[in-house]
């Protein structure tokens, strides 16, 4: 509606809610508010009876937390139904108009539950004044009353065997909330439709298995997710990539995990490169300060403090595999260290390797906030 009143397409009613436009005045929209997804009607229209203008606004409102919590007290059998007729009013598909709850439903809810709120120092929501709703049976005004078999609990509740509703976050939380303790009975992962981590017995959603993100503390959910051949290595997302492509400074796994953790520092600070699935030491011949800087940067360790070319006296040095600096590397092309190395297997003339010390870039200081003597 361009002006304050609707065009004739809006059935001439004098005010539109914020979202109506001259071109689209259909008011009904599917219900998406989780706590009201099991109603006998599926369409709603805004603004609702609390003055909210959208389901998103309603979903973060105080009332959308208050009513489900109040339902747990079993103060009134049809409280959840009433709450939803107020939060997401029914929209009649024919008239595109809201259908209010009947006044008697509002009065019954308020009479039974207002005192419970009083106990915890809360008030009945002001905007749900029952006089705004029509009496049932009045001519040419329809209003809503619950069917006897209407759901007393919302989809955000767990229904105890006794019929009581408790919030689903209380299911299997280690405390009995149902009067018959049924919320703590079948608490295995399987009963809750979840997958149980063999190690720590935590429950995770099935869609988290083999998705590249370890969720179990022992990462069992990411084990046995693919079968790579002997000359392939497994990506984090379980694709298989030929080992010769591993840590070659180009992405081959779609999640680029073949280029993760290619460079590390051993205990003694020696630079170790993991290439084609094997560990290499870097021959010091041809190493420059640029190489040190790039190496610290790619490990997220900030900047180089010191670089030493050391004789590798470890026993395994004899069998050590060497990688050599590629002399044709130019400083202008930004590639990670594993891309600057080549000529595997050749011996290292100097028999020296690189020991590197990196340090975090300056962070977390605030010189402008220093104390100034007065």
């Amino acid at each position: 509606c361009i002006s304050t009143s609707c065009l004739s397409g809006c059935h001439g009613n004098t005010t539109c809610d914020l979202r109506d436009t001259g071109s689209n005045c259909s008011g009904c929209e599917p219900i998406s508010l989780e706590i009201c997804m099991n109603l006998p009607y599926n369409f709603t229209r805004f603004p609702n009876y609390l003055g909210h203008h959208s389901q998103k606004e309603t979903s973060v409102s105080w009332e959308s937390s208050l009513f489900p919590a109040l339902v747990q007290t079993s103060c009134y059998k049809y409280l959840m139904f009433f709450a939803c007729t107020v939060l997401v009013p029914m929209c009649d598909p024919l008239t595109q108009q809201r259908v209010p709850p009947c006044r008697s439903l509002c009065l019954s809810s308020k009479e039974r539950c207002e005192s419970v709120l009083g106990i915890v120092g809360l008030q009945w929501p002001e905007d749900t004044n029952c006089t705004q709703f029509p009496e049932e049976g009045q001519t040419n005004t329809s209003c809503l009353l619950p069917d006897p078999d209407v759901n007393e609990c919302s989809p955000s509740h767990f229904k105890c065997r006794s019929g009581r509703c408790v919030l689903s976050s209380k299911l299997c939380d280690g405390q009995t909330d149902c009067d018959d303790d049924s919320d703590e009975e079948t608490c295995g992962c399987v009963e809750r439709g979840l997958w149980e981590c063999p190690g720590d017995k935590t429950c995770i959603n099935h869609n988290m298995i083999c998705d590249g993100f370890p969720d179990c503390s022992l990462k069992e959910d990411e084990h046995n997710c693919s079968v790579c051949s002997s000359h392939e290595l497994e990506c984090s997302n379980h694709e298989c990539v030929h080992r010769s492509l591993w840590c070659d400074s180009r992405k081959h796994c779609s999640d680029s995990s073949d280029e993760w953790n290619c460079v590390s520092l051993s205990e003694g600070g020696l630079v170790v490169v993991y290439k084609s699935g094997m560990e290499y030491q870097v021959c010091a011949d041809g190493w420059s300060s640029n190489h040190s800087s790039i190496t610290c940067t790619q490990m997220g360790l900030g900047s180089p403090v010191s670089t030493e070319m050391v004789q590798d006296r470890s026993l395994s040095a004899v069998r050590r595999r060497w990688l050599h600096i590629n002399p044709h590397w130019s400083e202008h092309n930004i590639i990670p260290l594993q891309g600057m190395l080549g000529k595997r297997g050749q011996s290292c003339q100097s028999h020296k390797t690189i020991s590197l010390l990196c340090t975090k870039d300056e962070c977390g200081r605030r010189p402008a906030a220093r104390m100034v003597k007065r």
């Binding site: 937390s65 919030l167 976050s169 940067t297 790619q298 590639i335 962070c363 977390g364 010189p367 906030a369």
Partner: protein, 240 residues
Amino acid sequence: ILGGRTSRPGRWPWQCSLQSDPSGHICGCVLIGRKWALTVAHCFEGRESADVWKVVLGINNLDHPSPYMQTRQVKSIIVHSRYNRAVVDYDISVVELESEVEVTSYVRPICLPNHGQLPKPDKYCHITGWGHVGNRMPFKLQEGEVRIISVSQCQSYFDMKTITSRMLCAGYEAGTIDSCMGDSGGPLVCEEDDGRWSLYGLTSWGSVCFSKFLGPGVYANVTHFTEWIKRQIYLRTFHL
């Protein structure tokens, strides 16, 4: 920030304002490197393109450009691939700036905590932002001191939600000092024993801050994402 106070220029040199025309300030953000900032993923809902964003640093009064102010266009936005908007889980993004900032006394990166390093419950830390103060949106950066709250205690405030290991809670039972709309993406920082400050949380969600329901604020748990953050920076730096 509810219940906070106006901060002085230079007190939080890592704080930045994530802006998009014509609205101006949309969310907070945090400088973690010369070309890198962090914010939360939900700030980009409906505005996923990097072109519409810029980052403003070294500023205290949004309405009053300062001589220390630096502005950078956003080059790329990396939203966590597991960000879940329904339950606001994995609510974190890495923001790459078009060019490096100049590190000054008023523009400085914050330290990231080591992987698994969590602040102790009941430790006092600070939140900052230009978000709602309860009855208006302030021009000047606000700061507030909040207490870290254990996950189990925090869960008791939020019956309808699940507090995951990707979340961190801080504030007070009465909600007296809390973050609010417009603070999202801003820092929750704690001072370390060596006097440096580390980033432990990014303002993410909570109850409707100026409603009757009170309780703590919920922050993206930066410690959980330290490796992920470093990896995103590595992959973008080397065009992988």
